[in-house]
Amino acid sequence: MAIIETEDLTKVYKGRVAVDGLSFSVQEGEIFGFLGPNGAGKTTTLLMLLGLTEPTRGKARVFGLDPAREPIRVKSMIAYLQENMGFYRDLDARQTLGYIAELNRLPQDLTETRIERALKSVGLDKEAEKKVGDYSRGMRQRLGIAEVLVKEPKVAFLDEPTLGLDPDTTNRIMELIESLCRDKNMTVLLSSHLLYQVQKICHRVGIMIGGRMVAQGPMAQLAADKLGVGKEQYTLEEIYMKYFQEA
């Protein structure tokens, strides 16, 4: 079943096209790798799917709902980890997660256990009493992921979730995402520049360049299309660079 669907989705900023006639779909339980250079329109697409930005033209559907018309229902099913995310500096990690839980109307008893579990998963349980203002960039990034975990959403939009993390934490986070999809049937839209990691966990990828999606599908198929039939050993990077040079 297609959880996310767009048709001819377009966003124009003051005459500049940020997203250009985008049509793609993401299936339930899938990890969809959203690739593309900076300014390709990935974040804008996510914002339109969340109902935070109004599309200029075209259709967007999440669970069959129009995010522009039913933003509350859509947003209650999606957790969005934004790029350059901000935090309330005067709250500590538990208070931050507690606020998110409260905004999502999580019942009190569920909140506590989920917060502890989320903190443990991202390795912040020892430093949960510190104010977020005193966190390092990597710690904030992990706290952002904990916010997603607390919400336990059906769909997660992760916009460059491992930016600024060390290799070990990156791997742990990627494994965490993978296991959530496997165990909880979560659907993930993952935007990232770490092609090696994306190749490891994503089922399908879409490559966006200049607002258009130039390719989408399983990696093996893209490899067959671009690198020649029957090539067994390929990397996502090869595929990506090929598309990038053609565009």
């Binding site: 935070l52 930005t53 947003k75 999606i78 969005y80 995310m85 901000g86 309330y88 999502n104």
Partner: protein, 318 residues
């Protein structure tokens, strides 16, 4: 509704733990205590051996002890409280990247504005109520006068008008925080608005009134009255004027007839009052009701503009 309550709770606890609130509160408490102490002393001294006039307790609030009365202080400085509490409401969250996170949770956009406004409103109410209570307590001690029930009612209405008045400025400040992305710019805009209404509206009203009645001299009382009326009408465009006028009626019922035209001394005033009856409480309420409605209406206008701008605004992290 749920979103409003959650945001309200967080904002309120933010306010209470902020230095901004602490400093504001200390400042207001200090000024009002000094003002009222001086006023109390003046009243006790002047009234020695004289029969107590009506509403002597209310004079604590209207008599200038240290250069200005408490009512004047609130009229002048109240806007600053509202503006300081609100000028960075939305743009600070925008600049720190927390707004898009907040809005990606399942809440309506207007819940953000409403929750934050209500938190500021609650804070203003707490401040004003505690100050009036403290001042009354001090008045009891210094003057040894117990307020009558009508005086209590009048104080209560005064409180309500003051809270509405300061909340209007809070609403205006929140609007600025939506319109301007930079915190410094919205602070400046708020300051400009305050200065404009504090000084320029009354100056401008006089100028316009003079221009409209060019031949009004001291020898022509009718034309003179006309001029004053025109000036008054124009200056009612200022929320400060609305506030000053309405509180004067409520908390200083004796001064009504002579207020804006003639300056008179305290003893003169007291002796005049022996011959003129005060406006009854009910009449006072009827007089100020339009003023209160006007204040609420301009606050509502601020909100309407805030909603329309904010609901269409593009929110993304940096």
């Amino acid at each position: 509704m749920h979103g409003i309550i959650t945001i309200f709770g967080k904002e309120l606890s933010d306010h209470f733990s902020s230095y901004r609130f602490l400093i504001l509160f200390a400042l207001i408490a200090m000024v009002s205590l000094i003002t009222v102490y001086m006023a109390g002393m003046t009243i006790t001294k002047e009234l020695e051996g004289v029969a107590k006039p009506k509403f002597v307790f209310l004079m604590l609030f209207t008599l200038s002890g240290a250069g200005f009365s408490l009512v004047q202080f609130v009229a002048f400085f109240g806007p600053v409280i509202g503006l300081i509490l609100g000028f960075d409401t939305i743009n600070r969250e925008k600049n720190e990247g927390t707004l898009s996170k907040l809005l990606s949770q399942p809440i309506y956009r207007d819940a953000v504005i409403n929750g934050k406004f209500l938190a500021g409103f609650a804070l203003i109410a707490v401040m004003m109520i505690s100050i009036v209570l403290v001042v009354s307590g001090m008045g009891l001690i210094v003057m040894g006068v117990i307020p009558g029930s009508e005086e209590c009612w009048r104080l209560f209405i005064y409180l309500i008008i003051s809270i509405v008045y300061i909340s209007f400025w809070l609403g205006a400040a929140i609007l600025f925080s939506i319109l301007f992305r930079s915190v410094a710019t919205s602070a400046l805009a708020a300051l400009a608005m305050w200065v404009f209404f504090s000084f320029f509206v009354s100056l401008g009203a006089n100028a316009v009134a003079n221009a409209l009645t060019p031949d009004a001299g001291a020898s022509d009382p009718d034309a003179m009255m006309q001029r004053v009326r025109i000036g008054k009408a124009i200056s009612l465009a200022s929320p400060m004027e609305l506030y000053t006028d309405s509180t004067a009626t409520i908390i200083d019922p004796m001064r009504r007839t002579t207020r804006s035209l003639v300056q008179i001394g305290m003893m003169e005033r007291l002796s005049m009052e022996r011959f003129s009856g005060p406006l009854s409480l009910w009449q006072s309420i009827l007089v100020v009701l339009p003023y209160i409605i006007s204040l609420v209406a301009i606050t509502a206008v601020c909100f309407a503009v805030s909603y329309t701008v904010f609901l269409r605004q593009e929110i993304r992290s940096l």
